[in-house]
Subunit: 376 residues, 2 copies
Amino acid sequence: MYDVEDNLFLLAGPVDLHPRVQRAMAQPAHAHRSPEFTEVNRELFELLQDVYQTDDPVLCLSGSGTSAMDAAVGSLVDGSDMVVVLDNGKFGNRMAKLAHRYAGEVTHLEQAWGQPFDLATVDQAMHGADALLFTHNESSAAFTHPIEDLADIAEGHDALVIADCITSLGGIDVPVDELGLDACVSGSQKCLGAPAGLSFVSLSERAREQLHEHPSYYIDLPQYLDRWQDHQTPWTPATHLHLATREALRIVLEEGLEERFERVHRVAEATRTGAQALGLDLLAEPEHRSDTLTAVEVPDGIEGEELLGALKQEGIVIAGGQRHMSGEIFRVGHMGQVDVREIVAFYANLEGVLRDLGSKVEHGAAAQAIHDELGR
Amino acid sequence: MYDVEDNLFLLAGPVDLHPRVQRAMAQPAHAHRSPEFTEVNRELFELLQDVYQTDDPVLCLSGSGTSAMDAAVGSLVDGSDMVVVLDNGKFGNRMAKLAHRYAGEVTHLEQAWGQPFDLATVDQAMHGADALLFTHNESSAAFTHPIEDLADIAEGHDALVIADCITSLGGIDVPVDELGLDACVSGSQKCLGAPAGLSFVSLSERAREQLHEHPSYYIDLPQYLDRWQDHQTPWTPATHLHLATREALRIVLEEGLEERFERVHRVAEATRTGAQALGLDLLAEPEHRSDTLTAVEVPDGIEGEELLGALKQEGIVIAGGQRHMSGEIFRVGHMGQVDVREIVAFYANLEGVLRDLGSKVEHGAAAQAIHDELGR
C-alpha cells in the first residue's frame, strides 16, 4: 500500500528532505525584520554565495524557480534587446516564453528533447545578440548542456549569459564566477535539498550595471538587490523556508562541494549502469546525460503509466515523462542526498515490477552491474 | 533574556502558529503533481472559498502578499484603464505604486496615516474610473476602511473593486460575494494563522471576464485560473506551506467565522481598553480602529525604540511604527489565535516596563479595566 509519508522518494524534485532540514522548520513564527531573523538571512545569503562559488550577490525570492527565471530575464532583458534562447525540452521552452515576453527580438533555436545543439550554429546565431539564455540541466530530458562552451560563446559576443541552473546547482559543478555567468537561477527543492518555495539568482557586476526595473513589482530585482546588503528582502519572506534552506545549505557545505559533485556523479553512473544491465535504453546522448536525474525509455510492450503505478504501490516514487514524453520515459531523480544504496534498492524493486508486467529481467542484474562498476 | 523561540508573540503578522499548524509542516517531501497532493490542494482551495465566503475561484500563489496584490492589479488593470487608489498608510502607498505601474491614468487620493477619506470625494473621483483600489485594513496605522461603503461607490460607477484584505480576511468579516469584491487579496501569515509565504486572490465573474495576461509570467493570473479547476498551480507550489495553510484554515473554520470575528473584536476592545486605562492614546479615529491590530502612541518622555527593546528583553514581541511613524507608535497585533489572556499578559508586563522607564502607571490598571469591560 502506498504511504505518502513513507516511501523511496526519487523524484526529479522536490527531493527527500534530510531530517535536519525537516526539523529546521519546526519553529514558532519569527519576526522577519528582527535582528535574529536578519542573522538567519545573513548566513543564508552567505551560504548561497558559497554554493554558487561567487563573490557576487545571490538574491533570494519567495517563489518557485520560475519566479527567479522570470525575475532574471525581465530585469535584464527589454524591448531593445536581441537574445538567443536554446530550447530542447520543457524548461528550455519556458525560458523561450520568457524571452519572447521581454526581448525585442528573439532567435529561438529548437532541438528535439534530449538532443544537443551544434555549437557553431549557436555561435553564428549570437552575432549582434545581447544575451544567451538556456537551461543548463534540462530535467524533462535528463540532458545537460556544455555550460562552459556556451558561456565562452556568449563571452565572445560580449553578451550576457542567463542560465537556468535550477536542477544542476549544488549537484553538478557550476562555478558561477569562473564560468562568467551573469545571472544564474536556482531553486530550493532540487539539488540543494530544501523544501519547495524559494528561488535564487546571482548577478554579476555586468548584470548589476544593466539591471532595470522589471515590469512586475513583486519580482523586481533592483528592489531585492537594494535590500540584499542589509540581509533583507523587500517583501515578507517565507520565514520557515529560509530556516529550512539555511540548514540544507549547511549540509551541502559540510559534505563539501567537490565531494558532493563526485557522489552525485557516482550515483548517476550507478543509475545508468543499472538501467543498461536490465536492457533499458537511456534517452539522452552519452556525453549529455545528466548527473542529477536519468531518463529511461519505457520498454516495448509495457505501458508507462502502469509501470509508474506498480512502482508506487511498492512505495517507490519516481517521475514520468512530461508533455509528449508522457508514457514514453520514466525519470529517476538522484539530486540532493540520494546515494547508491537507494539506487540499488530502486532497481531491486524495479526488477520485480518488470517481471510482474511480463518483462524477462533477472533478479539482481542491476545491483550486480552497479557493484561490479564500483569494484565491490 | 530574549528567546527567539519562546516569547509572547503579538506582531502585526507573521502571527503565532498553532501547534497543529506547526506539526502540519513536519512532513517529508511530497510529489506536487501526485493525486495525494492534488487532494491537499482541493481541500485548501475549498477552505479558501469558505473563508472568503465566495463561490468564485480563490487562486493560491507561492509568494508574499505583495505577489498576489501585484498579480491582481497587473492582471486586471492595463494602460487603457483609469483607476482610483486610496493611500493613507504604507500599504495603501504600495497599492498606489502598483496602480501607477499598470494603469494608464491614476487618481491617487492621499490622506495622513490613520485618517479616513471623505466618501463624497471618493465618489466624485470615481467618475469614469474602471477600478477602485484600496487596502481594507491599513496595518501601518491600525486603520480600517468602511469596505461596504467603498464597494457600493465602485458599484455605482460600474467599476472593479480590487481590495487588499491581507490583514483583515479571517479576522474581520469580509463577505466577498455579498460585498461584490472583484479581486480580494490575502496572505497566509496574518489573520489566517499560517506561516508566511503564500498569498491568495479571489476573482469575481466580472473580473474573470476582464482578466488579461500579466506583464510578468510568474504571477500571470490567467495561468493560475487555468489550473485552478484541476486543483493545481501552474508552477511548483511551496508544498509545506500548502500543508500548513490547509491546517490553519481548518482551525479557522472549526472556530467558526462568526465566532472568530466576535473573538477578534472582543480582543481588540480589550487591547484598546487596556491602552486607555494606562493613559495611552490610540492612533486611529474611534470608528476606524482596526480589530486585528492596535496602534498606540508612545507616551511623551519615552523613546519608542527603548520601549520596544525593554519589552523584548521581557520576551514580548510587538511591532514598532513603520517609516515616519517609527518611534512614534507601537503596534500590538491581535490577529490569528490571540485571545484576551495574552492581551492581559501583555499589559501586565507593559506596566512594569513603563514604570522602569519612569512612567507613572498603576500595576493592574489595564487588567482591571479589561475585566470590568468584560463584566468579570
